[in-house]
Symmetry: C2
C-alpha cells in the first residue's frame, strides 16, 4: 500500500463513520423529541443494524490493517493524522476485546432502557426499570473486565469519561470539597433564607422558548448551526460534525430559571462542540474533549455581571412577572442555596453533594457492595445524610437522571470536576479579559474567543488534562473553586 | 450455498437496506422540519456517504449473486420472498445500468437542489433554480437512456411512478377529462360564485395544530405510530418500516382549509403506507404501492356526509370564526370551484387542469421540445390558456411544487389518475358499506377496514394495476370520475 493511498482510504473511512454517527445520533434525537410514542421498537431495529455496520467498519480486518500500516509510518503523518490514528487504534483495541454479539445486545438494551426509564420515571416506579439497570450494571462490569482486567472496574469507567481520573483522585477531591462545602452550607443555613419569588410564578411556554433563543444568541451560539428542541431531560448532541449541533431544554411554567439555565448549560456544551477547527470536521478529532457546560451555566451565567445584563432582557420577555423586582432580587434568586431533590436544579453549593451521592453509589455498585434492588433505599438514605432531606418518590429520587439508563456509569464525577476547573479558568481569563465588564454588556465574544483559541479549536487533538494544564500554566487546584464559592456566597448571604 | 442460508442472508440484507432508508429519510425529514438553516451542506456530506453505502449494498456483487441464486430456486420460495426477490432484481438490473459515480453525483444534486429550490421559491427567482433544474433534466434523460434506451424517456419515467402507464394512455385519459371538465367549468363560471367566507379569517396556528391532530385521529391514523410536523410543502415519509410514518402540513392563518385538507391528503398516504401486514416490515414489500391521498382528501373529505360531521367539530376549535355560518356554508366553501394559481389548493374540478399543464411541460422537456430556461414563460402561457389566469410571479408559478427539485419528473400524471381511481373505489365501496352514513358519524373504521383488506395489507405484493382491477372487478373507467364530478357540482352550483 502507498502511504498516500492509505491516507485517502483513512479519510474516507472517517467520513463513513461520521455519517453513521450522524444517522444514529439523529435517530436517537428524533426518539426523544419528535417521534410518535409507539415507535421505540422500530428505532431499536434500525439502530441495531446501523450499530453492527458501524462496529464492523471501525473494527474490521481491513480497518485494523489500514490503521496499523499508518501507525507504522506515523512519523510521515501530519500531527492531526497521527493523533486521529492513535485514538482510533486505542478505541479498536478496546472494542476488539468486546465480543460483537454482546456489543450489539448492549446497544439494543440502550434503546429499550431509555424507553423503559422514561416510563418508569413517569410512573415513579423503580421496579419497572430495575431489571434493565441490572443488565446495564452487568454489562458495565463485564465490559470493564474485557477491556482492562487488571483495573478496578470503576476506575476503568471514570477514566473513560475523564482521561487520567481515578477513584483515588476523586476520593481526595471530594473529601477536600466536603471539608469546605459542608461548613459553608451550615453557615448559610443559619442565615435568613433569601427569596426566589422573582423567578417563580406563571411563565408562558412560548415566551420561555423565545427567551431561550435570545439566550442562545447572547452566549454566542450560531443559530444557523445550532438548534433547540424540547425533551424530558436536556442534552446536547452533534450530528455528523460540529457544523450541526442540537441542544434541548424543558420548560417549567412555574419557574423560569429551569429552562434558562439548562439552555446556558447545554449551550456551554454546544459552544465547545461547535468550536473545533473546520479541518477537524468528519474526523474522530471533531467536537469537545471535555465540557464547559457548568462554567457557562454557573460561573458566567449566575454571576453578578451577567445578571445586570439579563435583568432588563427578562423584563422585556416577562414584563408582568418581573415588574415588582430588582436586579439584585434576580441575582439572589438564581443563587439561592438550599438542599433540594433534583441535581440539575441544584445550586452551586449543594451541587457537588448530589454528585458525591451518585459517586458513592456507583462505586459500591461497581465493587459489588451494593445491589441494584437496594439503590432506592440507599439513595434516599444518602440524601437524608448529605442534604438532610427526605426523598418522597423514585421519580424525584433515584430515577431522576438519564445517565444510568444510557449506560453512563462513572460519568457523574466529571461534572463536579468541571465546576472546579471552571473556577480556575475564570481566574486565568481575568488576567487578560475584563470578564465582569463583558458579562455586564452581554458581550460573550471576547470570552468565547479566549476559549476558542486556547481550548475549543483543538477538538480532541489534545488530551483534556493537557489542555487544562496548558491553559492554567499550573496544576489543577480545587481550592480555587472552594475559595470562589466561599467568596461569592459570603457576599450573597452576608456571612 | 444452502437455500435456507440464502434466505436468512436475504432477510438480513433487507433489514440493512431498511435501516439505511430509515437513516436517509430521517435526515431529509430533519432537514425540512427541525434542522438549523445553515446545515444543508453537512447533511449533504452524510447523505452522499450513506447513499454510496446503500448503493453498494443493494447492487454489489455478493447481493447480485444472492438474488440470482434465490431467483434460480424461486419455486421453493414463499410468495412474499418470490415477489421481493423479483422487485429487488428488477431494481438492480436498473441500477446496474447507471454508473455509480453518476448516481452519487445525482443524490448530491438532490440535496443541493432542494435547498436552492427553497431559496429560489422564497425569492421568487427561477433563475436561481434554473441551473439545477437543467442538471436534473439532463440526469433524468441520461438515466432513462441508460435504463431503457428503447423507450421514450417520458414513457420510461411515467412507468416508474405508475407501473404500466404510458404517454399514450395519459393523452387519451386527459383528452377524455378535458372534454368533460372544460364544459363543466364553463357552466359553473356562468353561475353566481359561492362564498368561502366561513373558512377565511384569522385562525390561530396553535388551534389549527390541535385541529390537525383531531383530524388525524378521526380519519383513523394511530398517533402512536404516525407523527405530524410543519414544513413548507406537505409530504409523507416512512422511517424504516410502516411502524413509523410522518406527515407534514403548513398552516395558513388566513385560511383554515389549507392545513385541514393537506392533513387529510397526507393522512391518506399515511393510512395506506402504515396499513401493510406486519410481516412486510423491513422488506422491500412494505408500504403503499400507490396512493389514496386524493381519495381521502376530496372524495371522502369534501363530501356532504363528512362535512356534516366536521362542522360541529370545527365550531369547537374555532368558535369565533365559525359562529355565523352553517354546515351548508362549510360544504360549499370547501367545494368552491375557481381557477387558481396553486395546484395543492385547487378544487376538484380545476385540479386536473393543473396536472395537464405539468404533463404537457414535462413531456416537451423530455422530448427536447422545450428548454428549461423557457419553462416560466410556457408555464404562464398555459395557465392563461387552460385556466384563464395570469401568473404574477415564479413563486406562485413554476416554482410552486417541490417535485422537480426532488427529481420527480413524470410523477404528476399519477395524481390525476389517483383522483379518477378514487371515484371508482367509492362506487365499489358503496356496494358493501353505507359510506355516507359512516362519514356523517366521523366513523372511518369500516372504510379503512375495507381498504386495508383489499388494498393496504398487500403493500407492494401486487402491482398497483392488479390491485385496482381486483378491487374494481372491471377495467378502469375514467367516466366514473367525470360522472361523479358532474353530479356533485351540478348539486353545489345548481347547474
Amino acid at each position: 500500500m502507498e502511504l498516500n493511498e492509505a491516507r485517502a482510504k483513512y479519510k474516507k473511512l472517517q467520513e463513513k463513520l461520521a455519517a453513521f454517527d450522524h444517522a444514529t445520533s439523529l435517530i436517537s434525537f428524533d426518539g426523544v423529541t419528535t417521534a410518535p410514542k409507539g415507535t421505540a421498537e422500530n428505532r431499536s431495529q434500525t439502530l441495531s443494524v446501523l450499530t453492527e455496520e458501524e462496529y464492523l467498519l471501525s473494527t474490521g480486518k481491513e480497518t485494523v490493517e489500514l490503521l496499523e500500516y499508518l501507525d507504522s509510518r506515523k512519523d510521515e503523518l501530519t500531527e492531526k493524522e497521527k493523533r486521529s490514528v492513535y485514538l482510533a487504534l486505542k478505541d479498536i483495541r478496546q472494542m476488539q476485546k468486546i465480543p460483537m454479539d454482546e456489543y450489539i445486545e448492549y446497544e439494543k438494551l440502550m434503546v429499550e432502557a431509555d424507553d423503559v426509564w422514561h416510563r418508569a420515571k413517569e410512573a415513579s416506579d423503580f421496579e419497572l426499570f430495575r431489571p434493565l439497570l441490572e443488565r446495564i450494571v452487568e454489562f458495565t462490569l463485564r465490559f470493564a473486565g474485557y477491556c482492562a482486567p487488571e483495573k478496578d472496574p470503576y476506575d476503568y469507567w471514570i477514566d473513560q469519561y475523564a482521561e487520567g481520573l481515578t477513584t483515588k483522585t476523586c476520593d481526595k477531591f471530594f473529601d477536600a470539597l466536603k471539608s469546605r462545602i459542608v461548613p459553608l452550607l451550615k453557615r448559610i443555613s443559619e442565615k435568613p433564607q433569601i427569596s426566589d419569588a422573582c423567578i417563580c410564578g406563571d411563565f408562558d411556554k412560548k415566551a420561555q422558548e423565545e427567551f431561550a433563543y435570545e439566550l442562545m444568541k447572547t452566549i454566542g451560539l450560531d443559530l444557523s448551526h445550532c438548534g433547540l428542541a424540547e425533551t424530558e431531560h436536556p442534552f446536547t448532541t452533534s450530528l455528523g460534525s460540529h457544523h450541526d449541533v442540537r441542544i434541548t431544554t424543558n420548560y417549567h411554567r412555574e419557574n423560569v430559571s429551569y429552562s434558562m439555565y439548562s439552555v446556558i448549560h447545554e449551550g456551554g456544551h454546544a459552544l465547545y462542540d461547535s468550536g473545533s477547527e473546520d479541518e477537524l470536521a468528519y474526523t474522530n478529532l471533531d467536537g469537545g474533549a471535555s465540557s464547559q457546560s457548568r462554567f457557562y451555566e454557573n460561573i458566567l451565567g449566575r454571576s453578578r455581571g451577567f445578571i445586570s445584563y439579563l435583568f432588563p432582557v427578562m423584563r422585556r420577555f416577562f414584563p408582568e412577572q418581573m415588574k415588582n423586582y430588582t436586579e439584585e432580587d434576580l441575582y439572589k434568586a438564581v443563587n439561592l442555596v438550599t438542599p433540594s431533590l433534583i441535581r440539575t436544579e441544584a445550586d452551586e453549593v449543594t451541587y457537588c453533594l448530589h454528585i458525591m451521592i451518585r459517586y458513592d453509589l456507583e462505586k459500591r455498585l461497581m465493587h459489588g457492595e451494593l445491589k441494584v434492588k437496594d439503590l432506592p433505599s440507599e439513595w434516599n438514605r444518602l440524601y437524608k445524610e448529605y442534604l438532610g432531606i427526605d426523598v418522597p418518590n423514585d421519580r424525584e429520587g433515584v430515577l431522576q437522571d438519564s445517565h444510568w439508563s444510557g449506560g453512563l456509569i462513572g460519568y457523574f464525577p466529571s461534572y463536579a470536576l468541571g465546576s472546579a476547573y471552571g473556577a480556575q479558568f475564570l481566574r486565568k481569563m481575568r488576567e487578560e479579559i475584563n470578564v465582569d465588564e463583558c458579562l455586564a454588556k452581554g458581550d460573550f465574544a471576547p470570552i468565547n474567543e479566549w476559549n476558542r483559541e486556547r481550548i475549543w479549536k483543538y477538538g480532541q487533538m489534545k488530551k483534556p488534562q493537557d489542555i487544562l494544564e496548558d491553559v492554567f500554566g499550573e496544576p489543577f487546584d480545587p481550592t480555587v473553586y472552594t475559595d470562589y464559592l466561599e467568596k461569592k456566597y459570603t457576599g450573597i448571604y452576608n456571612l
